[in-house]
Amino acid sequence: MRNAPGFLPPDPRVEEPYRLTPQLAVRIAIIGVVAIALFGALFFRLWALQVISGAEYLADAQNNQVRTFRVQANRGPILDRDGDVLVSNRPGTRVQLWPAALDELPQAQRSQMIQELGKLLDLGPQEIRETLKKHRDDPLTPVTIKDGVKREKVVYLLEHQARFPGVQVTQIELRRYERGTMAAQVLGYVSEISREQLDAREGSDYAPGDRIGQGGVEAAYDRYLRGVAGVGQVRVDAMGRVTSNREFSQMPEAGFAVKLTLDADLQAAAEDALDYGIRLAHENGDWAADGGAIVAMDPNTGELLAVASSPTFDPSVYVGRVRPKALERLAAPEANSPTLNRAIAGLYPPASAFKPVIALAAIHEGFLSPAELIQCSPQIEVGDDKQVFRNWDPYRNEPMELTTALAASCDTYFYEVALRAYERPDTPFQKWASRMGFGSTTGVDIGPESEGLVPTPAWRRRHFEHPWDKEWRPGDSVQLSIGQGDMLVTPLQMARFYALIANGGLLVEPRIVKQIEQPSTESGAPVVIRPFTAPKPKDIGLDPNAVAIVQEGLYDATHSSYGTSTAVFGEFPVAIAGKTGTAEKFVTLPGFQGLMDQSWFCGYGPREQAEIVVCALIENGGHGGEAAAPAALKVFESYFNVQPGSYAAQAVESD
């Protein structure tokens, strides 16, 4: 009864009376102790977190929402020597994705969004996933999905933002190639820095996601073009949404303009000339003609006026997010390496165009006198095994002095000279060829450049396995004397050598960048930040008289009745001196493997006070006078403003 204080009658089932048993008291005490222990644990943990380590966690929390961001500076333009713009920038849009925001979505919604986004941006969902995967270690930095997205698509994205959580659209600057494919290999292109490039530049101010020049001027002068990236901090919430103004600790500084020595008009003419030369070759039945290079250079300074390489490509395929298919097309065998700059990296035997090197070497080493008469016979037998070497013209059999031999490009004349050189212990041809810049890079300010090869007895011993091959034989000297055998040069090396003849014996260093400029503003003229004055041409110890004789031979080659390109240059109003070459090179083409004629012409003009050197090469283009010389003529026409057709020009058979 005692426990029924209120209005209910006691429950008969209950055992009464109830009292607090000692057992229950103990258990209540246990509950109390446990409660105290648990609360005590919470207190201690809080104390440890907040009071003892509070400062650390505060720093963590502050770092949590501060993101360092990097803004690429506007890349500097690339100008030709007259200031005409070759490469500039255009505004583009970049679509990015916040991985953190994506993680918030349920799996199904996430894959549906990626699916839709891919469809909109013409990307496979797999491609997007791969991109995201690459940036998996940093969920709080947006990942670039695509650059250069079209306007309609951006508008669609912005209008349907709710369906694309975590997608962000920003403005960026994209490269614009004002002249399309012009000078594509020289200019290079720009793309996101790769992991390998980043590792190679450790300690520099390149950061992941930066854009960097790839190839050509873009790569070689990247540090001037790129400017200074802006760095700053911004506050973001857990979803990566920006919640504060951007505060720059370093404002982005636009890159400098790079002014080239190239002349846009001459460059265009050179590229047209290259196509013309290839077309000519086709018309002559040389159907395999499929590429080539033309180098135009100021022979006094080494400034490159035009550097053409065919086939070429459209550098804008690298703008924005690169489509792998477009790259595959560039890399396909049918494309014939369009990104290779054949002018500085292509390797070919120089053939007869190399004969002036032999002549100069022989004169300086004293085993050839220019006035000496040597029989230009149809063929000679060389060595113990009586190997037969022929002249290209089997009907000629007369004594010649050097100028005639150069003009008529008599092979057997040079074979005789070669046999004299073979007797000498100091490899005079190779020594002089090296001095004249063959077998090593020219030091031109863009790359990658090929070294070429000047074969020496030492090289033969190093390079070959078989004892027979290891030996340097008279035949090797004979081959070298007409620029065949293992000799390999780049068109640029040839242009540099003809510049040496044109300027009276000085070796120039080829350059393609004239100066770095502060881009011109509305009001003022551009300010030159850094001029790259051409280094003083190197005197390699040539006798001006010897050079003058070679000059004469080269003038005869383009003007005398027996000259190999008289038909091309004989009537040209400006006195051009130059030499053809027809180089046999072992090539592998679809359905063909064997020797093919590489068509060469190198020359300069005007004869007395040379302003320009032109070297043209047409791959598989047949004889030098048939394809390369007419192509070179086009460049001279453009440079000297001579109307085509105002004089007679036709190709004849030549070497």
Partner: protein
């Protein structure tokens, strides 16, 4: 005697007033004050934590929680007024009601992959919360009835069976946290009722073995009773730095928030972890982290002290209880309360696993507020009846 005379005289005119008077005179005002302070503090915390959550309406959560508090106070008044013995008689219908409510959620719509709520138009009701209160009453009634047979395994197993059905239902919702609260309630009820230590020890052993098999043994042989994410969340706190899939992202952010609060907090505007949504669910499950970030150790400790006050008064009430039934009820309420506070606060500071248990009086949520205040009313009722019984 004087009291009795006064009673008989007044009863015909104002019997309710007389009853009300007796209740008011015997209330635990310390408990009431502590709860009032907690509710007020909780509202203030919720208001500051949720200021930036609904754009353009900084008081969105405050207004709604205030309504919850108002209803809760009414519930508290009601449970204070009713004689607890009433529930003991009604325990069979109460148990049936609990099971029906818990079963209904399985036919109702899913919210975010879980079935916890019953939508009754203006209010989303969470049966598992009221299930706590009902389970306490049902278990206490069952054990009090068998007060003389507590030594028997039948009694113990009966109680286990009674608790197991709702606990499993809640577990299947899935709401592991609340299911664990049910287990705590069962333990508390048996413990206070006076179940033999042997039984308790046996049950504890079985419990440990169950946990071990759920987490390690069954998954090892390919049987998944718990979802992968549940295991990760429950075991993640043991090693928060090992986090391959972000399972403990919440804990890391929560600990950072708590720690960054320091001694006196970062204030409402300075609490970046809260304001920039690094803290998930900071109005509900992780509200303690936000409090600790905004108000620092002082603010967090104040809350814990208020909880301590409530717990102290509630433990006192067990001893004051006028019957075994009410003692068990009070004991189970104390344990459930301590369990929830510890697990919720503990999970925000990395000493307890992550489970979706609300923080009593502070987390936003109507069901929790109503039930918690109702249970406080129940404690008051027990206190009143205990005091009155002592007077006689």
């Amino acid at each position: 005697m004087a009291v009795r005379v006064a009673d008989t005289r007044r009863r015909p005119e104002v019997s309710i007033g007389g009853e009300a008077g007796r209740i008011l005179r015997n209330l635990d005002y310390v408990l009431l004050g502590a709860v009032a302070a907690l509710v007020a503090y909780g509202l203030w915390v919720l208001a500051s934590v949720s200021r930036n959550d609904v754009p353009g309406d900084p008081d969105f959560f405050l207004v709604r929680q205030s309504v919850n508090v108002a209803i809760g106070v009414a519930v508290l008044a009601l449970t204070t007024a009713l004689n607890p013995e009433l529930y003991r008689r009604l325990r069979v219908p109460l148990y049936a009601a609990a099971l029906i409510l818990l079963a209904i959620v399985f036919v109702a719509d899913q919210v975010r992959g879980t079935r916890r709520w019953i939508d009754i138009g203006f209010f989303q009701f969470q049966p598992s919360e009221i299930g706590k209160a009902l389970l306490i009453l049902v278990l206490a009634g069952f054990l009090a009835d068998r007060a003389r047979r507590l030594d028997e395994w039948g009694t113990t197993m009966g109680a286990v069976g009674l608790a197991a059905v709702p606990a499993v239902l809640v577990f299947l919702e899935p709401d592991l946290g609340t299911a664990l609260v049910y287990v705590a309630i069962l333990g508390a009820a048996l413990f206070v009722a006076g179940t033999r230590w042997l039984h308790l020890a046996t049950l504890a052993t079985v419990g440990v073995l169950t946990v071990v098999s759920l987490f390690w043994l069954f998954p090892a042989v390919g049987i998944q009773v718990l979802e992968e994410y549940q295991i990760e969340r429950l075991t993640g706190f043991l090693d928060p730095d090992h986090d391959p899939d972000g399972a403990t992202y919440n804990v890391t952010q929560s600990i950072t928030a708590v720690g960054s609060g320091g001694l006196d907090g970062r204030g409402v505007e300075g609490a970046t972890q809260t304001n920039m949504n690094y803290l998930p669910e900071h109005s509900t499950d992780f509200i303690f982290s936000s409090l600790a970030e905004q108000r620092g150790f002082f603010g967090a400790a104040l809350l814990l002290l208020l909880y301590g006050l409530v717990v102290w008064r509630a433990i006192r009430t067990i001893a004051l209880a006028p019957s075994l039934f009410t003692a068990i009820v009070a004991g189970a309420i104390v344990v459930a309360f301590v369990f929830q506070v510890f697990v919720n606060v503990g999970m925000t500071i990395g000493v307890a696993p992550i489970t979706g248990i609300p923080l009593p009086f502070v987390s936003y949520g109507g069901s929790s507020m109503l039930v918690t205040l109702g249970l406080i009313g129940l404690l008051q009722a027990i206190h009143v009846r205990g005091r009155l019984a002592l007077e006689r």
